[in-house]
Symmetry: C2
Subunit: 402 residues, 2 copies
């Protein structure tokens, strides 16, 4: 069991219709808000209209910044920061999915601390700049996937260099997250499916990447995976089910909060391997994770067979007693599950060719270096060649998982 | 699934030897501390000496208040508040178990807000006084049971009226909880056993007292119960095992944090029924819970058989498919478990007679009234007669659980 520091300062305000409390909550944080959200023209429009109207009723001034991309770009965030300052805003209301909330964190913290948003991300050996504080953030998630509404992390894409990276700062915890399952029903089923797999990717990332033992963390993670699987099936049958949306929201929030890994926090190799897909091809993160998970689980099964086997047995009904054999069954079972939920994806399905594999693998080992040369961190150092193999196996489903 | 607001603002600083960080941490909260702890002469003495020495090294002034009882008395707390003020302390270091930490919360919050500590507790129809703030609290738990080091609750005993009650205030969250498993090994095995059952009582309290459904909360609770049971067995074999102490600490912290009941927080009838035992006979809370749990589970099994059955199946190996039959097996299995761990207790074992049952049951329905006359809250209103029956069944083990 490893040492750790942990808390969860963001107040979750959970319940259908509780978005109506935004005016009252906002008043605690200042007179003028920046609403940060996606561009208009999508299914979020009525939600944006409603929040604007609620703020008007409460007498809160605001400016709405609608330009945040699904993979938020540093260049866009820097523009938002200029507007935040010139409009003399006091706080940010992040209204959207993980990309909007991540982007809002960079607005609030970079706006307070100075410089450019990209100065603060992890990038190979570079020592990232450190924030000195942040303007308050109120998150109103409109989908459940990243858990960003209650954590300190955030990813960012540099559109000039086609790099995607992340950072973490305690200054960036949202003060409040209004988790209103009534808003979450607005998400189309296809995006909901991607999101559920994204949540799964968060839940297994630390579970499979540390040698340290913490049964508490394992049981917590397994409980969330089982809850997620049960509610994934239910949401496919009825995407308007409020309680089911609520259960998935809890899995997304706590699945990437550190809680799921107390005493055994490890590295995040699957996320590192996915990042170039989003950076180079602007693929939504959740879809990238769906593509990367199966080949990763297959290629790395021998790195820590006991943990692969534990997950296979406790969450995927595997009864095989030999650890290595059970470990190898995990990718098979996960692919079955993805196919059962009609979520399975390959690079072919999203029209991504193979000509950048070498360069993408190079980016991974350069940006997120492991303990040995030309590797990235994972359950053991993962070589560039293995990363290329994972991309190759992601190309199509000819490679059977059985 | 019910609406809720939730956060976990206390920073857990977990790891062996991390008590050594107290000087550095304390500096953030002022120049002079009150160390609140139990009376000297017990197994905590070397730990108290060490914390005093660490504060001296860090140049933090302090006054040590050693008078807090295992059931902290309002009268004692009020004395501590006078000293806190006359000594011009800036913050409280709560060094001890749940009673010390609970007491410290009343010192910090009542000292800040004025009046007497008992003014703030729940007491029948009385509207308790509300705090206006609190001095900072740093908790250093020396045992794992109450989870008080990371929550806002606190119980208090009025030695003049023989009443015991509680209150909750967000002002009272400790800023930091230094959870050092090296300190936790100082706890004698007999107290450790009581504590494990106390943690279990917290974990099942909400699980068994709300009709609302939240699979997330159920799975979280079940995961902690399974982790607790596994580590209870281990700690009996080796009370010095640091990692096992750490796992039990996590169960105690999150088992009474609200996390275990997100979306289905219910009432706490077992605690209400135990409180008069502590109040009248000064029985340590954990021992009282150990005595009350089995008869409570037996008497109330028919109130919500589906939930009793779920717990019996998922955590106690019951395979019976009929809910009511499975529900009735829960108390049997719990008694088996308590006997296996040599934790089972009756009122006879602690020399408590039957002559106060009527008066104690009267106290419960008066202090914690249910929705119907002469009842207390629970999975359904619990009558005074049922409470007396639970006390009667707690007398000795003649009443077999099979």
């Amino acid at each position: 069991m490893d040492n750790f520091n942990w808390n969860f300062p963001t107040e979750i305000v959970y319940g259908e219709g509780r978005v109506n409390e935004i005016g009252k909550i906002a008043k605690s944080y200042g007179k003028k808000a920046m609403i940060a959200t996606y561009k208009r023209g999508g299914f979020l429009d009525p939600i944006i209209d409603n929040v604007e109207s609620l703020l008007r009723e409460a007498g809160i001034e605001f400016v709405t910044f609608t330009g945040i991309e699904p993979n938020p770009r540093a260049q866009t965030i820097d523009k938002a920061i200029e507007i935040f300052k010139s409009e003399q805003c006091d706080f940010v209301i992040a209204l959207g999915g993980g990309s909007v909330i991540d982007g809002s964190k960079y607005i609030a913290a970079t706006g307070f601390s100075g410089g450019k948003s990209w100065d603060y991300v992890v990038l190979g050996d570079r020592v990232p700049r450190e924030y000195t504080g942040a303007y308050p953030i109120i998150a109103i998630p409109t989908m459940s996937a990243s858990g960003s509404e209650c954590n300190a992390g955030g990813v960012l894409t540099n559109a000039e260099t086609n790099e995607k990276s992340f950072s973490r700062s305690a200054y960036r915890y949202p003060k409040v997250a209004i988790v209103d399952p009534g808003l979450l029903t607005s998400v189309p089923l296809s995006i909901t499916k991607d999101s559920c797999v994204d949540i799964f990717s968060h839940l297994i990332e630390h579970y499979l990447s540390s040698q340290a033992e913490s049964e508490f963390a394992d049981r917590a993670t397994e409980g969330m995976i089982l809850t997620l699987k049960e509610n994934f099936d239910k949401i496919i049958k009825d995407p308007t089910d409020i309680a089911v949306r609520g259960q998935i929201a809890l899995c997304s929030i706590f699945g990437w909060s550190g809680f799921q890994a107390l005493g055994r926090m490890g590295s995040i190799p699957m996320h590192s391997i996915e990042m170039p897909l989003s950076a180079v091809y602007d693929l939504p993160h959740a879809r990238g994770m769906t593509i990367i998970i199966p080949p990763y689980l297959k290629v790395m099964a021998e790195a820590m067979p006991a943990r692969w086997a534990k997950l296979a047995r406790r969450c995927f009904g595997v009864t095989e007693e030999d650890d290595l054999k059970a470990a190898k069954l995990l990718s098979v079972k996960v692919v079955e599950w993805l196919k059962d939920t009609e979520s399975y994806l390959t690079l072919e399905d999203v029209d991504i060719p193979s000509d950048q594999f070498e360069r993408m693998a190079e980016d991974v080992v350069r940006m997120f270096p492991g303990s040995e040369p030309s590797t990235t961190t994972g359950p053991r150092p993962i070589t560039k060649e293995e990363i290329i193999k994972i991309y190759e196996m992601s190309q199509n489903s000819h490679l059977t998982y059985s």
